[in-house]
Structures are given as C-alpha cells and as structure tokens.
C-alpha cells in the first residue's frame, strides 16, 4: 500500500512535469514559428527557414522546455507503462485549451470543451489503474 501509493504519486508528479514542459514548449515553438512565417517547401525556402529557426530566441526557449519534457519522459518511462503515461498525460489538453484562450486568444467551441471534459474523465479512469503492469524481472539486460 505505502509503496504502491509512492509509485503512483511519483508517476503523477513526473507526468505533470511532462505536460507542463511539453505545452509551454509547444506554445513557444508556435510563437517562434509565427514570427518566422509559413515555410516554403523548396531547398532555398527550407534553408532560409532553418536559419531563421536557429536564430530565434523564442524557439530556443521552446526547445529548452522540450528538453525538460524529454528528461521527465525518459525518467517516468523507466518504471511506468507507456499505456498509463500517455493517456494520463492527455490532461495537458485541458491545460493547452486554457493556455490557448489566455495567451493566444483563440476562441474555444462548445464541442472542444466537451472533448476536454471527456479527456478529463478518461484520464481519471486511467490514473486509477496500476502504473506498471510489466515485471521488473522481464527487463532486458541493459
């Protein structure tokens, strides 16, 4: 009981870190890419876009957050199920919807709000299941 609870809390905290880093990172990338404008699919267009991308500060902030996401993702995957972490991480859509409303001033339709509610119910169902269903003994030698 004590151990199970600890694993569950540890897993949920790491998922929260993943979701925050991923959403802030994506938001920054979107802002950066909007500053750059639509990318043309030609050799010159791609080169031009690449130069603009690597010199854009907002993009780099986004990349830093995505590195934070990668580290928390790798860590949580070392003990928890993929099929637990991925759906549980979907509560990020509730967060993304809020961020899109607050910072990008996007309008949110009733349909999208229903989607957000379904996601929240689904996430709560998944989060009540066991975070790890594979045995530690099944591990392949590293």
């Amino acid at each position: 009981m004590g151990h199970d609870l600890r694993v569950r809390i540890k897993t949920l905290v790491m998922i929260l870190a993943m979701v925050v880093c991923a959403n802030v990172g994506d938001l920054m990338l979107k802002r950066g890419m909007s500053q750059i404008g639509a990318v043309q699919l030609s050799s010159a267009g791609l080169q031009h876009a690449f130069r603009l991308t690597v010199t854009n500060g907002t993009i780099w902030i986004g990349i830093l957050f995505l590195i934070g996401f990668t580290i928390s993702y790798m860590t949580v995957m070392s003990w928890a199920d993929y099929s637990y972490v991925m759906p549980a991480g979907a509560f990020g859509y509730a967060l993304l919807t809020l961020l899109a409303v607050l910072f990008l001033h996007e309008t949110v339709s009733p349909r999208r709000w229903i989607g957000v509610v379904l996601i929240c119910i689904g996430v709560s169902l998944v989060s009540q299941t066991k975070p790890r269903t594979t045995e530690a003994a099944r591990q392949v030698a590293a």
């Binding site: 995505l66 790798m74 070392s78 993929y82 991925m86 979907a90 999208r112 989607g115 689904g122």
Partner: protein
C-alpha cells in the same frame, strides 16, 4: 491540405516508433534509485548507452521537424490535438503487443474516452 496530411502521417509513424523504442530502452535501463540530480545524471548516462534509445531518437528528431513544419502551416489548436491521437490509437496497441503491457478494461475505457475527447478537440 494533402501536403499537411502526408506530413502528418509520416509524423505519426516516426513519433510512435520512436516512443515505443525509447520506452523499451528505458525499461531496460531501469529506474533511478532516487529522483535527485546526481542519481538522475547517472541514470541519463546509463540510458544514452542503450541501443534502443538510439533507435528511437532519430525517429523522434524527424517527427519533431515534421511537427515544426505542420505548426508553421496550421493552427496549434488543430496540430497539437491531432498529433496526439497516435499515442492512443497506435501507441496503446504497440504497448500491448510489443512491450507486453496489460491493458485492463478500466484502462481501455479511459483510453477510449481520452481518444474520443482528443478527436473532438481536434475537430473543433
């Protein structure tokens, strides 16, 4: 539109493949003893010496670049939810058949609701 769709399909393939490979590698690495900086660095060091990690990374790198392309063409509120369907559709099946995870009825129910929710968000 067709251009976006093709890039999107390639994004699905590479991101699911990459994530499953990395998950496999991380399970093989084993979890860090404690969530402290020192142990985390040791853990990351062990993880990057795992072959499966390097099977996943190029796929994720490609999927990241494809996502950047998509983000420059379409609104974030469409791209991000749509790109997220893959962990639920392909990812859960791959987790069951490739990684051997047990998906209980409650987990399937949750995944299905999340999937429906993400689809609604993507369509709005």
């Amino acid at each position: 539109m067709i251009r976006s769709l093709l890039v999107f399909l390639l994004f699905l393939l590479t991101s699911t493949g990459g994530e499953i490979a990395i998950t496999y590698g991380m399970k093989a690495t084993g979890e860090p003893e404690r969530l402290r900086l020192r142990q985390l660095l040791t853990f990351l060091g062990r993880a990057v010496r795992n072959t499966w990690f390097w099977v996943g990374i190029p796929q994720l790198a490609l999927s990241f670049y494809l996502l950047l392309l998509l983000l420059s063409w379409e609104p974030i509120s469409l791209v991000i939810p749509a790109s997220a369907l893959n962990p639920y559709v392909f990812g859960t099946l791959a987790a069951k058949y490739v990684l051997g995870e047990q998906i209980s009825p409650q987990r399937w129910a949750g995944v299905t609701l999340v999937c429906a929710g993400v689809a609604l968000v993507a369509l709005s």
